[in-house]
Symmetry: C2
Subunit: 310 residues, 2 copies
Amino acid sequence: MTTERQFIRDLQAQFPTLHPVKIGIGDDGAVLDVSADSQQVIVTDLLLDGVHFDLNVTSPFLAGRKAVAVNLSDLAAMGCRPTAAFVSLAVSQARLHASPDFLRDLYRGIQQMTEEFQFSLAGGDTNSWSGPFAINVCLTGVPFSGRPFLRTGAQPGDAIFVTGPLGGSLQAGRHLTFMPRLHISEWLSRNVEVQAMMDLSDGLSIDLHRMMEASRTSAEIFTSMIPIHADVPAEWSADKRLAAALSDGEDFELLFTVSESAAATLQVAAIDAAVSLFQIGRVATGSGVRLIDLSGNNRSMDVTGWQHGL
Amino acid sequence: MTTERQFIRDLQAQFPTLHPVKIGIGDDGAVLDVSADSQQVIVTDLLLDGVHFDLNVTSPFLAGRKAVAVNLSDLAAMGCRPTAAFVSLAVSQARLHASPDFLRDLYRGIQQMTEEFQFSLAGGDTNSWSGPFAINVCLTGVPFSGRPFLRTGAQPGDAIFVTGPLGGSLQAGRHLTFMPRLHISEWLSRNVEVQAMMDLSDGLSIDLHRMMEASRTSAEIFTSMIPIHADVPAEWSADKRLAAALSDGEDFELLFTVSESAAATLQVAAIDAAVSLFQIGRVATGSGVRLIDLSGNNRSMDVTGWQHGL
């Protein structure tokens, strides 16, 4: 099985990055130099019935909403506000006959996101076929201030933060209703020098590995500081609850680093602004991720999140 | 059955066009004002196994090539060169196991287009599922000169042109190997004032109706001037050959109008530049499309091309 990581490396080798593309394959989105002094970010995600939602139990409204929301989470990770959406659909005639309101409900879910964050549905493509439902969303965005955030800028000594509690998203259905962290991304853009940022889609375990690898750094995570979501059953053992927070995935919180000196003032400012931030560890030299518990026990964190197989 | 036309009108009513989107749903692509003095065009098309190609007989190479080429044709129609591609895939594990080189061959087909027209694959999303193969391509582009071409600018008196012979594309497999008309689009951008342009994807019959409706004009087409492709069997009756040219679809030639005064000099310049152009009629007031034969017989052209049903 080719891993997603190797697959992406092969594509990077096969397809050169040409102007106006500044950052291509490998981050949450691509960065284009669209004029001498402005950059644009483009993100895309394809969501599939039976993989990212199940239309036997998920409404078309929530499927459409999620398809846009996961892309908004990618834009938030890049420090960008959305400017336009492009939505492509494949849907069966059988479904449309069985559910005549399917497309109307789906587009209402999309509309909830375009209205919340004030951007246009600017294009797309709708097709019928005999296969299961599929929806691709492509969003354009522009940085809230100055430059987009990347995964590559973490520096040894940085403090590592997440924007909310983790775990239990898929089981509780939070992955269908989460609010993309655009407001926090905007607040951070204006209040601190973010060094590196990405969104948590596949689980802190694998996503933190990805950021550290992109930044050529390692991470030390204090397990007692990882916020565990109320969707993770309280009666579970501490180990099982921690594992859920590390590897359930689809949290769609932001993971980011700031310098040690910025971290202290950031936490105070965040409280004043009612912005939810949790420091979970720090960046170090070397590679990999180490978990440190309250007793000072130190172990390497396995990659346990959702690793896409091809 | 909701027609594609009504479906698009409903979306236009539901989703307002907000800055930086200047032209949204309804043309070959969207136009964004990305800076004070520059515009960007974004196009997207979703291609499905069993609908746009058949992987039982079509190679992954040609499927990948077509997925990019049809989007390049949309950019050509807008008078734009491509700047970046975003490719999303859904493919089954069964297919990857049966054809381990599937993705490699597919991306080589994509690469043929990115190398031919010198732009980057800048992002995408690859997923496995149990459904049939689906590929969505989103391309960004910038105008060859000045402004993008739209469907809406045809004026009564304009001459109507197509860039090549029509008909027989699906039967002969030309839809998999055609060369998007970017070079002709660039040449036109630099040599004539194009009033309206679109690409012929669903057949001249329906696509010309769409352009005339968008421009609030009518068209008079001289049937003897419609170039019929060699892929349309020569032994067929004249009526059957004309019907093929009008309604087979997937020609991916450009359809455009220029003013009457520009038309004469354009034809001479095109011959000098070895650019293939065929004048097929003229724009008039009113609505609809009329076919005029050599005897002067005049009839209304039915919409016989591929009208997407939903």
